[in-house]
Every structure is written in C-alpha cells, then in structure tokens.
Symmetry: none
Subunit: 202 residues, 2 copies
Amino acid sequence: MLNPSETKTLKFIQKYCIEKGCSPTLTEIADGIGIKSRGVVHRYIKSLESQKLLSVASNRKRGICLNLEAYENQSIAPIIPLLGRIAAGQPIEAIEDRHEINLADFIMDPDRFALQVTGESMMDAGILDGDTVIIKHQNTANNGDIIVALIDGLEATLKRFKRLPKGMILLIPENKSMEAIAYEAERIQIQGVVVGQLRSYQ
Amino acid sequence: MLNPSETKTLKFIQKYCIEKGCSPTLTEIADGIGIKSRGVVHRYIKSLESQKLLSVASNRKRGICLNLEAYENQSIAPIIPLLGRIAAGQPIEAIEDRHEINLADFIMDPDRFALQVTGESMMDAGILDGDTVIIKHQNTANNGDIIVALIDGLEATLKRFKRLPKGMILLIPENKSMEAIAYEAERIQIQGVVVGQLRSYQ
DNA sequence: TTGAATGTTCTCTTTTTGTTCTCTATTATC
DNA sequence: GATAATAGAGAACAAAAAGAGAACATTCAA
C-alpha cells in the first residue's frame, strides 16, 4: 500500500513522463513534490520499486521506468479519475457516471497520428475548427467513417465516407452549407480514419 | 527513452527540415540547441540513430534522414507527433500540421474530473451525446464558460454561463431548439468549468 | 585540384545525478 | 515519559553525462 508521499511521487513521475517524454531526475522529483532532499526521494523510489510499480536502471540518470501494467484499475493509473463528486447521490440530467478514461486510447499506437482541424466542414459532426483529431492510418474505410482523403494526390481533406455504385465514392461534409461531392474511386486515396477527437478550452 | 538533449536535438532537426527542406549540419544543430561542440551533437545524433529515430548517410553533409514513424511509436510520447505522412509536401486544405499535442492538459490534476455527456443541449458547441468532458472543479466562472451547474441543489446540467444584472444568472444551451433560462444566483451552484472535451469513435 | 566546410573520433574537464550515510525533528505507540 | 517509527535535511562519494575542443578524414563546390 502506498503512503501519501509515495503516491505523490508516483503521480509526479507519471505526469512528468507524459509531459516531457522522459523520466525526471531525483532533484526534479524533490522539487515537484515539495521537498529538498534527493536522498529522501531515492527512498521513495526504492519503495515504489519494491512494490513493482516502477523499475530503475541503477546509476543511470533518468533511469526510472514506469510499470504501466501494474496499476490497471487503480487510482494511481494515469487516467482521469471520474466523478462521484457531482453525482453525490443527486439525480442528474445531462450527466452520467463513467469509471475511467484511459488516455492510452489516445496515444501509444504506432498506427495513429494526429491532425489539427482547420475549417468548418465537419462542424455538424462536432468537429470544430481548431480541434485535434486522432487518425488511424489505413487505406480502407467503411461507409459512415470520417476519413482523411487525398484527392488526386493533392488535396487532403476530412470528410465522411460513403461508397456509391459504379466505383464512385462520396465525400460528405458535415456542414449544412456545404455539398457532398462524388469522385471516381481512383481519384481518392484514403489516408486514415478518425478514431478520436479532442479539444482544449484553455 | 529520449533525454532532454536528445529531444531538443530531434525537435530542432524536425523543425529545420520542415522549414528549410533539407537537414541541418552539425554546426547548425549545435547552434540551434545552444551548445558549441559539433562532437557533442554527433553523439546525440548517434544515440538517436541507435534508437531508430533517424538515419545518417555516413560522412555525407546534411545526411540526416528522419524516421517519423518510429518517433510516433515511442511508448510514452509526451505528444502525438504529427506530420510527414499526410502532408508529404502537398498543399492541404482542411488540415494543418501541428507539431504536438500535449495530453497533459487532459490528466492528473487533482482538481479535474471527467463526465460523460448525455443529451444534446450543447450540440452546437461541438459537445455531443456520449462525449467526455474534462471539468475543472471550481465554484466561479466567467461569462462564456461552459459550466456544470447544480440547480436548486438537485439537477446538474451542462450549459454556457452568463451573469446578468440584478443577481441573475443565465444558463444558455447551445442548441437552437432549446431556450436559455435565467435563474436567481442563489439557485445556481457552479460545480466546475469545462476545460477539455474528447470523443472516441471506436 | 584545392580549400573551406563538414563529419568523425578522441580526450579532458566540469557539472549533474544516483546512492549511501548520518543527523534532527516530529509523530505515533506502548 | 520512554521508545520506536517516520519524514526530511543534507553531506559525501562515485558514476554518468554534458560539453569543449583538438585532430583528422571526407565532401563538395568553385
């Protein structure tokens, strides 16, 4: 079981790793959790290691390696822990409990990449100007998928996909003021399919 | 895993390649990352090469070649790195390169939690039924913020916030078929403000 | 062909970091 | 009240890494 200092340490390391892409030094951890001694941090790290929550490459700088499998379903996982707060026994209209969001869905897949959307062509599907979409790289799609398509090898665009008879493909913008356009299949190259979308309000 | 120097080096090379259309020399990299020694840069390059993040044509000037796909494959990337694939030198209409997404905005702050939205009251703001919103827990808000409000201590709801004269508060749904409603301030308790939104298509 | 620019390989020094201690203050437990 | 347990500070040391820079090899363009 983790004591408060160890929990704080682990969370700091998780956050640092996600933000910076490498593990922190002991000094950075000390600074991050509000103490001054590297020696103390070292003690926490050793304790966390003995609990298999991370491993350390000895004597290596930034040698901490998180063990992500170890904490599935635990409150220390790098996820957004959910709710309880609002609900608090009250009836809720627009809101519903959900147990966790695992941000891993949005990262760590080698076939995925992200794009920032400009323009309003998918506005009515809730994809706004400035949003980020996560694309899974593939060259086929199903009807109804939102895809990144390359038209004539030149123009990349985000549209909903529909296969028509006679080798035609319909690219549908989700915006009432824009029209769907049909293309010969040869002109369209599917670059990937939207699997996620996110937006920051800050 | 990349240490900060290697990260800095890689990012500089990426940026340089995008801007100038060719890879930088060691001197340019040294200059770009703020050191003076080509030898040191060479060490970083070799390390990045051993991690398959780039390859170098030996002894060739400007012989660095980025391997973008490998970069995307890092286990805990701070970012979802982009580009290369779609762009491929082509003009792009609805899409724009972006160098990174920082997922840190979406996690681990003890003051944040997430809710799954049900209902269509914020549809026109791009928040759809089933989306997840990240809420920062606070009990004040600015005009225009999207907030979670508790009405009469009973009903929690997601609306855009506007303060009116005479101690009234207007809660505005973003849906043409619904009407804004004004409440006495005492009836409204602000639970938090939306700071992020995400949606999974899988 | 030639020379400046560049890549490559070294060694050396300094700084940073991990590690192990001991010591003190505080808190909990008997 | 005595004792043990714990959190933290900080010193000391070895190892690792960062960086400077010299020396040499190779490219490439004039």
